[in-house]
Symmetry: C2
Subunit: 164 residues, 2 copies
DNA sequence: GAGGCATGATTGACGCGTCAACAAAAACGA
DNA sequence: TCGTTTTTGTTGACGCGTCAATCATGCCTC
């Protein structure tokens, strides 16, 4: 089982290295830009973006977690921090005593409105602009294929949440 | 400054979504495989891999950090944890009283020898096998271009360590 | 060789994520 | 209806990374 390992050749190692560096550094770079130009971290931005897509800026914690593909506990921890910052507020859910409705506060909306243009520019300037049309499409299909493969191997996050 | 933002169209959003999911999920999937099939986390694997490329399995903490592109404090925290697990050992550096030599222990070598085949298989099966040759090359150049762009924007990790 | 700056490494506080345990409420089934 | 199971959400412990502060040592220059 280990003697027939197909190791990477030099060229494959180069590709792998470039990809690994990107996978490892991209997210933190995005966070850095966000924190520098607004008062929001990447995850906070995600939460507020999801909320602002909802009708009233209100979503049940359950649905928020599902939409983001996160564990409930992760969301819970983050919401606690965001609540103390005044970005979101909790309210009991009238139809289900277990549930909580999460709503964006005015400060939360202000923050994401302020952060959005810079965030989009970051993506545009660093992901789309530097690539050719072919590279964009290849990147797209490659990303989907890799994800599908990992999912098939049962190693993707939240294996249960793969409904389209 | 915000009114001329070039927002993403529907197709671009699809690409961005796929890429973001990959960037967000790949690393944790790799970690999951590693932890499942060995006793090593992803970062521990990186440290041991770097050490095993050195002559005697010994590297100064400074060089280890440089090679991995990490902050010293990050390495320090991790080494403390790895030392308690018996994966590495510290020894004072004879030529520089400030420095420390980090060496792999027998347990450390055993662990990475055990982990390596599964790790390589993960990469091979989920990154290389699912892609066409064209996609591989496009992925390679796209990753490099995106990284270069972020670096130019001054947002890449460790802006100082960009000597190639 | 004494002052001053650079380098190497550690520490502590804090944000963040995972995991396992938990409590309360809902849904289900006989 | 009563008991079991599922769902929802929180909490605490712990691993992990960043940042700022700290400290000792090396280096460099006058």
């Amino acid at each position: 089982m280990s003697s027939d390992t197909r190791w990477l050749d030099a060229h494959e190692q180069e590709i792998w290295r470039a990809l690994r560096e990107l996978l490892w550094g991209f997210e933190s770079a995005m966070d850095r830009q966000l924190i520098r130009d607004s008062e929001l971290s990447g995850v906070e931005y995600s939460v507020l973006a999801a909320l602002s897509e909802a009708d009233d800026g209100i979503l049940r914690a359950r649905d928020l977690a599902r939409q983001l593909g996160w564990e409930r506990s992760r969301l819970s921890h983050l919401l606690k921090r965001m609540e103390t910052k005044g970005l979101v507020a909790r309210a009991e859910c009238p139809t289900d005593l277990r549930g909580f409705n999460i709503m964006m506060t005015t400060a939360g909306r202000d923050a994401i409105v302020k952060a959005a243009p810079g965030h989009v520019s970051f993506v545009r300037e660093n992901v789309f602009d530097p690539l050719t049309e072919e590279e964009r499409e290849a990147l797209h299909s490659a990303a989907m294929k890799i994800q599908a493969s990992i999912r098939e191997a049962g190693l993707w996050v939240n294996p249960g949440v793969q409904k389209g």
